[in-house]
Subunit: 344 residues, 4 copies
């Protein structure tokens, strides 16, 4: 029997519905660089799903590239991006943001989230600082939904961030690498139209949500980033066969697939949370989405690793480690039950 693996949510290929579209259109001839009809069809469906008919929609091949490009293109040279200290752009993008010349201005997180209170305090302190002209000016705000910790912003929390952004004239950008797992979660309050209404830009994650690759950037006001096509080229983000992404997003936004595709992952993660708790392993982070963070005694790590693939998350204390188990759209319930057996 295959070894169990909950190492990540990008272990399989594409959702069958997406793959089928690639297969059945494979030999068609279309223009390059996302100028084809499939990309356009997906744009229309995404605009409809977001209730934002005037939005610009662009496809990029990965999350780090998308974040670097959006941040680099929105900011002026003297500005930085505000993010929680746990944000993906703060820690795990190998300096991609700095590579395009900008500082990540970090704020201590709360449960993986940037709180309105912390953001307000940061901005008030900055604008009251007599030396601020020698500091990096906050020029936009980055959050992710779900967060790096798998937690969710409530509608009230997102609205509160929006109000502060309005007050300080800061574009608000949301990294939605795992957005499908937010949308499929029972606790989630923030819909696609909410995101389109409350954020200046966000991206709908494809790579971790059923696609082979691809993220769809949505900008309420296309003027936020002029010459987007050229910017994509400059960042090395313009795929020749852009339809590869258009076709997949077209499938993801047919029959609301994107709203449902994460449901098996949430069910699997909920079950895993119950399994770990029942087996006496507390959860380090109260995450309601597709990632599970059990605290495991160090002495048991090796035994566990022999039977199931997981990810290291962080040290909990000298004797315990936080692991990450990820479920995805492709997780099979029988594998979750095998995990339950193993932990008994």
């Amino acid at each position: 029997m295959e070894k169990l693996s909950f190492a990540s949510d990008y272990m399989e290929g594409a959702h069958p519905a997406l793959l089928q579209r690639l297969v059945e259109t494979n030999m068609e001839k279309t223009p390059g660089y996302s100028a084809d009809d499939y990309c356009e069809s997906a744009r229309q469906k995404i605009r409809a799903a977001c209730q934002c008919p005037g939005a610009a929609v662009h496809y990029l091949a990965g999350g780090t590239l998308t974040n670097a490009l959006m941040i680099g293109a929105i900011l002026r040279s003297y500005q930085g991006v505000v993010a929680a200290d746990t944000g993906h752009v703060s820690l795990h993008e190998a300096g991609a943001i700095e590579h395009s010349g900008h500082k990540v201005l970090t704020i201590p997180h709360e449960n993986g989230k940037l709180t309105a209170a912390a953001l307000r305090a940061y901005l008030e302190t900055f604008w009251a600082d007599g030396n601020r002209a020698q500091m990096v000016m906050p020029g936009m705000v980055y959050i992710s939904q779900p967060t790096e910790y798998g937690t969710l912003y409530s509608l009230a929390e997102l609205t509160a961030l929006r109000e502060i952004c309005d007050k300080y004239k800061l574009p608000l950008y949301v990294d939605g690498a795992r957005l499908a797992y937010a949308l499929a979660c029972g606790e989630n309050e923030v819909t696609l139209p909410d995101l389109a209404r409350l954020c200046d830009a966000f991206y709908i994650g494809g790579t971790k949500c059923g696609a082979l690759l691809g993220e769809a950037v949505v900008m309420r006001d296309p003027a936020l980033i002029p010459e987007f096509y050229t910017v994509m080229k400059q960042y090395g983000g313009l795929l020749a066969k852009g339809r590869l992404m258009g076709l997949q997003f077209d499938a993801l936004f047919t029959d609301d697939l994107y709203l449902h595709i994460g449901k098996p992952a949430i069910a699997a993660a909920d079950r895993m949370r119950a399994i770990f708790t029942a087996a006496g392993y507390p959860l380090a982070i109260a995450s309601p989405t597709n990632q599970v963070f059990p605290v495991i005694p160090n002495g048991e790590l090796e035994r566990l690793a022999a039977v199931v693939d997981y990810s290291f998350w962080e040290k909990y204390d000298k004797e315990h480690t936080v692991l990450r188990f990820a479920a995805s759209w492709a997780t099979r319930s029988e594998d979750v039950e095998r995990l339950a057996e193993l932990l008994k």
Copy 2:
């Protein structure tokens, strides 16, 4: 009947053999970031095809990204890359090289090629210039095979460039976006082992040569770019589902497919060259590979555009325009014959 199109060599999806691999492995679980067995298998096959067992092989999603990363990572901050003024990095990458801080030092081309004589003259002039310390130091050489004009470096030409690079201690890097069309061309003398032997780094183009996407960088000496994985992440070039590229390159390097995949394109392009010439349209560039550059009177452009998609190449003179007709691995001979009919 479908309108004829020779607009580019990236209009279709993947070669069926590649698509099949994606389909049959779709639901397998593998580690991310090109750490999977398929990527490793393709690496071994590429090393074997290049007769270079110690080479590093990395997969990246597109040509511009690959060029920007390779040039940015090889050069020191005070160095620039030497290229023909027609080079892709000089003109058509929207400033991607400058975005990573480096100047493209252009030299007039000959038939799309950087000649050894021109390179030597440039380097001699630079090193003899008393003001050179206030100038950008040449730090590496960029060429492409085939060139932007579809022409080919002979083995003697490539060897001559190598000798100059050796003398000036300059890494030589080859952009192989359309490499399969060189390898399939009767006139070609430069093999994969030649490239691995004579260049410090080159990339084997996938996107334009049968893959959905993907370019495979080959570096004779892996130490040329330390921490390649981190550099890929920093440039936004690390795909989560890297196996997507590994599987396709594994198929491309099974049964020498990559050496043959371009043959239909060469046959089609040869036939198109004959067709245009016979129809009284001279060729602006003597290109032996998969691109054809007829000179068309401006008055006929509209009529032609109504029946066949092509690319604008450049103005020839006030009354004529150079067009580009591209063939690919997927070009059907019946379409070429339909073109012959149309031009009669």
Copy 3:
């Protein structure tokens, strides 16, 4: 007797009037970062001399820094700066422009100048190019007065460039490293008010025109570059003791000193031009300002170097070399006459 030297126009310290101001104010306490009264006084005098009361005036320590900052701050990330291929930013700033992420888009010069015709042709070609979205968009125009070749734009030429810039909405920026030598030249038609009226930004060179160091940027509309102070800090261009530059510009703009300080240099250069011509050495460039470019047979270079310091300019042909002899505000007529003796 001291060896003759016409190696450059920055061999001496400061004009005595400037040095005196530094000496007499040396122990005064003033605020840092150009927030002092001397800097402000100089700003007012510069605005008056430019007949541009609303201009922003900022001080920077050197020409390359000024060019890199102005270009980097004016351009959007996807834009480049258009310049003559002989421009200082094109050739002799060691990649400072590319270091801030931008391409220099070069156009063949005419006598060191960017002509309106060449600029128009370049822009028309760019905007007509179907592939322009994959190219670097021209975002501003750089010229210098006098040019790198010591030549001058006439008022008509500058006006013609302005009209093209207006048509294409391109900021026009003038590098005035040697501006005093233009203003002191009999042939010159372009006044400081003309520059302020016809350019979006320009800098008044101090370093080569009588100051120890310092360039004064003038921007008709301060909104051209928001947060200029922070941008200066970010580029490492904010001097703690900014008054050092303010005091010197205050002296340079007292009693029209800046308009006259170059006159001895023009007289000396005119005399040198006559001397070389009379001695049978043709001039490679018809420059009316403070630099002289005689063509010298290679066989005489060594003998000449033994008695006078000069700069190498470029090869003329296999047997001749172009040298540069520079005069400055500090050049003594007796030294010029000694040169005449030596060449007899």
Copy 4:
């Protein structure tokens, strides 16, 4: 009577001995770009003072420029610089480090210092992190002596940092913007030869220590940064009249002036510390050098500001503020006594 001012240590011009050298050499002709004999003489004296005959010595115009250049030139593209979170590069350089593409990796300070324990813990954590390849690799260590808080590294502390740097092969770079105030301080243990021995590079601050402008970079091994001259040009840091800095450093290193020039500042700061303490104002930071950080009730700030210029440092708590009073080589003891009178 002039209003008292302790706003900064860069309020006056140059120390008279330095100014005199500028005056007496003003009309001499010398080569540009620090290739003159005065710059060379100062280099020899600095090498001697550092007991490091093989060191490279370069002059740059300001601290931020020096830090940005040194960090940008030492690091590889995928590396960041480790610094205390209070470091000047972390907070008050407007993103100059990020502008050259690098992240500042901050570690919580202790009394303004980066401790060996904190550095070791950081590096151990980094190298133990399974995700480190997606993070910015620490590539060098930045500290300042004295620190941003005016505190001093002891010889043992500096040696301990060196040992960790050796273990992890990290260049250690010291920002000496106020180095003269360390060297003049009774508590100081770290000499110039110690710095040259224990650091890979450091700079000897001129601007805040008696010069009009100028910082002298000292690199034990010149190969640490190849093509330094070109790098200076690229960063806009190459002054045409480089002798301006050479002459001043030559004076600063004549008769050990640099070792003594800070003594009046230390005496004045010591007296101010006693004055504030005696007047009932505690000191927020135990700094032994030329900066004094009294805690002042908010209600008294306005009255105080009316009679003496100071700098805002930071909020202490809701009712108190930390101010900074800076002494310099030019501070007069009668001004300090006037302050004592005002605070009675």
